[in-house]
Symmetry: C2
Subunit: 258 residues, 2 copies
């Protein structure tokens, strides 16, 4: 099973490099309560990732000394956030092991081009819980790119043939329109890939977040749905939701279906 | 060029998980002063690595839940030490990037069995300074093992065809006998692999450290010497020595030769 925790859940928005330790601790305890066997976790960067990458113009490549230092600093920030999450999991007696995306993944044009997940598979088989994250990685075309936790989580779920992929975000799921702007917005319980296409055409119908929005997340996740993986988008900010979702119990959220 | 910093230089011996921040900061500044281009750094674990691995009996495998948690905790401790070193390098404006050995290396019987150093090579080509470390890694035969920074540094130097491999330790080099016990011990300027064999036969002639001793280090390094790499053992505790060694300037120490 793959659990992706959104950056907006584990960090404080608009405060540079501030982790939401309360949420992190609670989520670690929920993961511990599931027994955590067979789990791979991935987390986003929130206020640790993109703000720093942006400051150094990393999207424009890796040519100047300043960008090279920016790549190093962005990675460092993500390592710091990852250490907090792994620390919280270990504190809850979950045998969490940080796995560093930029140490073994190469991208091309922003997409994973080369990655061997053999070590991750073996860690899971040994009873460990690998914890990966969105990271600054080398890119054959652009020099470097920001690999999103969403892309990574979907790829992991597909490669490891996970039965379920849970996205923990800071809203209840995918809505018919932006619930923060439209009081008539309704949560979509089951969203088919066909219906997704319609929503994309309507445009702006899905709420957005810092890493490309719910739309990006759902589009990214469609590869997992195609591979037959049960994909669930739930609110990780609400206590007990991740615990239920990991256990496969009924929970408020959006299930993506073919 | 590959620089290995011994655990005894960057941590305080006999104090669990205590880093020697003074040495770390000074060494980071020496690395910065070289310009740091084309450099790969590796560090040992000192009081962050083996004491924790031992506490959880990791050398006996990865079968009990306790050992699984111990693997995770040992790795976590090493990530913490690595963060201090990468942090000091970044502080000195060296674009250091932590590269996590256990994320892509598999061992077998305690030796590296599978490792793709393509990412490390590309990071160096891009002007970044990868910083690796001795780590708890999965082992096909034993379940897990402690991969020493020495083994890793030698392997990196050979695979990346480094011209020079510098071991920074807490004594001036290899002596004719243990300098801490024998006042007549003499530093060996140039040590041939043949002469090394003799010293091994005499036995106990080389000073020891926690990771298997200078003898282990020199035996490990012989693969690099065979590959035509200049291998230097110098005292990283003395200010300015690593700076000189990296620059290729004359410095007190032991050079290993064929």
């Amino acid at each position: 099973m793959v659990l992706k925790l959104g950056g907006s859940v584990i960090t404080v928005k608009d405060e540079l490099m501030k982790a939401d330790l309360e949420n992190i601790t609670r989520l670690a305890e929920e993961v511990a309560a599931t027994g955590s066997k067979g789990l791979v976790a991935v987390h986003g960067g929130g206020s640790f990732g993109h703000p720093i990458a942006r400051r150094y113009d990393l999207t424009e490549g890796l040519t100047s000394d300043r960008q090279v230092l920016g790549f190093a600093r962005t990675h460092r920030a993500m390592v710091g956030l990852n250490a907090l999450i792994v620390g919280a999991l270990l504190e809850a007696s979950v045998p969490a092991v940080s796995v560093t995306p930029s140490s073994f993944i190469l991208a091309e044009g922003g997409r994973i081009a080369s990655a061997d997940f053999d070590v991750v598979r073996r860690l899971v088989e040994r009873g460990l819980v690998p914890v990966l994250y969105g990271d600054a990685v080398l890119d054959r075309a652009r020099g470097c790119c920001i690999l999103s936790g969403d892309q990574l989580a979907v790829r992991l779920a597909v490669e490891l043939e996970a039965p379920r992929l849970v996205f923990g975000v800071d809203i209840d799921g995918v809505y018919t329109s932006n619930p923060k702007l439209d009081p008539g917005a309704k949560l979509i319980d089951r969203l088919s890939l066909g219906k997704l296409g319609e929503l994309v055409e309507i445009g702006g119908a899905l709420t957005t977040d810092v890493t490309g929005g719910m739309l990006g997340k759902v589009s990214e996740a469609s590869a997992a749905v195609e591979a037959g993986i049960e994909v669930l988008i739930v609110n990780a900010s609400r206590p007990g939701v991740i615990l239920k979702a990991l256990r496969g119990e009924p929970v408020t959220g959006t299930t993506l279906v073919r």
